[in-house]
Symmetry: D2
Subunit: 266 residues, 4 copies
Amino acid sequence: MPKGFAVPRSPLGRAAINPPPPWHYSSEVIGVDFWADPVATAALLPEGLSPDPATNGHARVLFSDSQFTAQDDEFLDPARYQFREVRVLIDAVWGETAVTYCPFSFADNDAALSRGWMQGLPTKLGQIAQTRSYAAWSEAAAPVSPGGRFAASASAHGCRLIDVSVTLDRREEDGRSFFERPTALLRYVPQLVAGQQHRPAMHELTLLLVENVRTVDMWIGHGFLSLPEVRGEELDALRPLRMNFGFRCGMAYSVEDLRVLQDLRD
Amino acid sequence: MPKGFAVPRSPLGRAAINPPPPWHYSSEVIGVDFWADPVATAALLPEGLSPDPATNGHARVLFSDSQFTAQDDEFLDPARYQFREVRVLIDAVWGETAVTYCPFSFADNDAALSRGWMQGLPTKLGQIAQTRSYAAWSEAAAPVSPGGRFAASASAHGCRLIDVSVTLDRREEDGRSFFERPTALLRYVPQLVAGQQHRPAMHELTLLLVENVRTVDMWIGHGFLSLPEVRGEELDALRPLRMNFGFRCGMAYSVEDLRVLQDLRD
Amino acid sequence: MPKGFAVPRSPLGRAAINPPPPWHYSSEVIGVDFWADPVATAALLPEGLSPDPATNGHARVLFSDSQFTAQDDEFLDPARYQFREVRVLIDAVWGETAVTYCPFSFADNDAALSRGWMQGLPTKLGQIAQTRSYAAWSEAAAPVSPGGRFAASASAHGCRLIDVSVTLDRREEDGRSFFERPTALLRYVPQLVAGQQHRPAMHELTLLLVENVRTVDMWIGHGFLSLPEVRGEELDALRPLRMNFGFRCGMAYSVEDLRVLQDLRD
Amino acid sequence: MPKGFAVPRSPLGRAAINPPPPWHYSSEVIGVDFWADPVATAALLPEGLSPDPATNGHARVLFSDSQFTAQDDEFLDPARYQFREVRVLIDAVWGETAVTYCPFSFADNDAALSRGWMQGLPTKLGQIAQTRSYAAWSEAAAPVSPGGRFAASASAHGCRLIDVSVTLDRREEDGRSFFERPTALLRYVPQLVAGQQHRPAMHELTLLLVENVRTVDMWIGHGFLSLPEVRGEELDALRPLRMNFGFRCGMAYSVEDLRVLQDLRD
C-alpha cells in the first residue's frame, strides 16, 4: 500500500508529499489587526460558529515566512519545504469558546498546501513576499527597532490580493497574548460520484492545535492593509473599516494533533 | 456555509478553487509506452488491484498541455485554469477488469491539483514543458509529420524527474484504442487527531470516469524515456527496460462522475 | 575566452544563454489594436522618433506564445526555450519611415529577455497567459471560428498589468498587412563607473529586422483591453480611448540582423 | 527620452527595472570553499586574467538570500526587489592583483539580473533556496551554533545545478578576511548587425567595487558541494577535488562604482 501520512502518498514512501506529524515550524511573522464590517465577518462564518458578540468584525491578516521540519531533517531541503503563507483570521465563538476562523489562506508550496488541507485550511497557491530583517546593517537591512518599516504582499494568478505595511513603535513583552484564540477550520471532502455531489464525504468543523508556541521579538506599531477587489476572489469583503495595529515577531510551534469539534454532515 | 464543489471552497462562492463538474478538457498529449521491471510495477500497486497477468510491467508516461473549462468560461481565465500535467500509468487488474493505476502525477496549477486529489490522483506540484506544434511554419514550428520530433520534461523543486522524446513515424487512425483501460486511483484522507493518525478518514479505490473522449491526429513512432534517481522521489523504480513506442495526439474529454470500487478501510 | 553570442556567455560555450542567430520563431498571437491619448503616445517616444502625423495615438498590444529554435534543436528543450511574451507598440515615424516603437515588453524566460535586450527591447520578466485553440473539440477547445473568444493577461511581481479579450468575427486573407511597420527600439547600456553614470556606453536607435515572416489563420473581431494603474509601472499611460479591433493569428519569422538607425550619444 | 539607470528603462521613469546607484544590500550567506582541478579553473579564465600561481584551482560557491534597496524604499517592495543568488568564484590574478573571477551566476529576480549584467556578471535565471536561521526556537529553527547544519541549492529550467551543505564548527572573528579578493567580471554586448556579429560592441574586463562591507556572525565548519553534470550547463567542470571549508555569515555592502580594467576589443 502507498505510504506517507497525507495526500499525495507514494508507493514506496520516499516520495510522500509530507512526513507524518509532529510538524515543527519557525517563522517570521508580519501582521495587521483591524476591524472589518461586522455584517461581512458574520456572513463569512460557517455553520457551527457564531459571531463573537464582544468582537464581531475584528480580524487579522497574518503573513509568515517559514521553515518546516519533521523527523527527517526537512529543514535541510529548503527547495522542497520552506514556504511563505498568509492567513486571514476573523473572530468567532464556538459555543462559549472564543476562536478565530480562517476563511482565506494562500501559500507558495505544495507540501504546505497539503498539510493545510488536512487540517481544514482553505489554502490556495499564491506568491507571497515580506520585508525581512537582516543582521548585517545597511540601508537594506530593515532592523527591528522603533520606526522600522516592513511590508508584505500576496498575489495569486498574477493578481495582487493583499498589501500590508507596518511601522514599528514599541516592543511588547507578552507576545503570547497575541495568539490566544485557537483557530477553527473546516475539513471538507466532496463526493464526485454522480447524484451525490452535494453530499460531502467529509465535513468537519475542526480546531487547529498548536504546541510549544514561542513568540520572540514581538513589536507593534502602525498598520496599513489593502484588500483590492479581484475577479474570482472575495477578500475585498473584509475591506478594513479601521486599523487597530500592525505587528512583527518571530514565532515557532509544533502541530501533532487536531480536534474535531463537530461533524457538519446533516 | 462555504460554497464551491472542491476544497478550498469559499464563503461567498466566488473564490472557490474549482467550479462544480462537469469539467471539460482539451489537451495536446505527448507520451511514451514502455516496459518496466514487472517486480517494480507489481510493488507499486495498492490493495484491491493486482498485476495484470498478461501485461504486468507495461507502463506509460503521459504528458498533457491542457485547457480547462466548466460552466463559467474558465477558458477565458488562462492564468488561473490552463495547466500542464504528467501522469505515470501502470497496467493492473481490478478483479476481471483491466485498468491502469496512477502511482505518480505532477501538475503546475492548484486548481488541477485540487481536482486531481478529489478523484484520487497523487498529484504534486511540478514544472512541465513539452514541444508544441505551431501552425505557421518555421524551423521552430515542429510540424506533425513523419520524422517530426517532440520532447517533454517534468521537474519538481528544481530537480528533473522525467525526460521524454518522441520521433513521429506514422498516423494511427484509431486513436481511441490507445486509451481503452480506465484509470484506478486512491482517494485518501488521513486523520490528524492524535492516536488516530494511522486510521484514514477516507480510503477508497476509485475509477476515473471520462466522457466524450475525442482523440485527433494520433501519431506514433520511436519513444525515449529517462527517469533519473532523485532524492525524495521514486520514479526511478519504473526505469524502462524496453521502449515500446512514443505517441502524440490531441485529446478532449469531460469528467462529471467517479466510480468508487472499494472502501479500503479495515 | 567565454563563448556564445549574447550575454550571459559561458567559458566552454555549452552554457551560453542563447545560441548565435539566425533565431527562428513560431507563435500563436493574440492582440488588440486601439487608440490611446495622442499626447501620451507622443510623450513615450525617444529622441530620433516623432509622432506619426497620420496615426499618432494608434497602438497595439501583442501577446505571443512562442517556440524558439536556432541551430541546435532548441525546440526540443522546451523547459529552457519556450516562452510567452507581450509587446506594446505605438505608431511613430523615423524621418519619412513609418515605424512602431516598443516602450513596454514582458516575457517569462531569461533567454528571450537576453535576445530582447540585445535588440533593444525593454523586456522585463512577467507571467503571461493566453487562451489557446486545441484540435480536439470540447467546451474547453476554443476553436478559431466566428464568435470564438480568446483572452490574454500579463502580470509582473504579482500585479496584473494587461488584460485583453478578443471575439473573432471574420478571417482576414492578408495577414501580412497587419505587421507592415517595422519596430524601432533602443539599445542602451549605462556606465557604472562613478562620475560617468549619466553618459551611456551605448545608446542606439535600432530597427528590428525580421525575415521569412509567415502569418496564418488571421482572424479579426471585437477587442477589449484593460491597462490598470500599478505602482512601479506606467502602462496605464496608454489607457485606451477607443478600441479598433482584436485579432488572433499564427505567425513565424526569423531574426538574423539588426539595423542601427542612429547613435543617440550626443 | 526613457528614464532610469539600467536596461530596461522606461519612458516616464516610474517603470525602470532598477533605480540608479548607490545600491544597498544585506544578505544571509552560505558558502563552500573548495579546490577544483587547476586545469579546469585555468581554462575558465578570460583574456586579461591569469591563473594565480599560488592558489590556482581554489574556488568558492557563494549563496546569498538578499534584500535590496536604493533611494526609494525598495526594501518595502519585496515582491519586486528581494532576491536569491549564487555565484561561483575562482582565484585569478590581473597583473599583480589577486582577484576572483565569476564564470557562473544565477539569480531569481530580473532587477538583480539587470544589475548583474551592467556590472559584468554572467547571471542567468535560477531557483535558489537556502536553509535559514530563525529567532524563535523549534526543531525547524536552524540556530547558528556549533553543529548547526545549513543547506542550499540552485536549479535552472528544472535541473538541479548546485547542492551545498555546511555543518558549523566555530565562530570566526575576522569575517572580512574571507572576502579580500575583489571580483573581476566581463561586460560584453554583441552586435546583431549582420556581418558584425563576431565583433562585440562592448567587451570590458571590469572589477566589481563594493563599499561599506560588513560581515557579521561568520561561522565556519565542514562543507560539502555537489556540481552534477547537466545538459546545457558546464558547472561540472569545477567538480570539487577537495573541500576546504563551509561557512555562513550575514553580509552587507553597497555598490556605486565599477572599475574598468581593460578594453578587450583588440
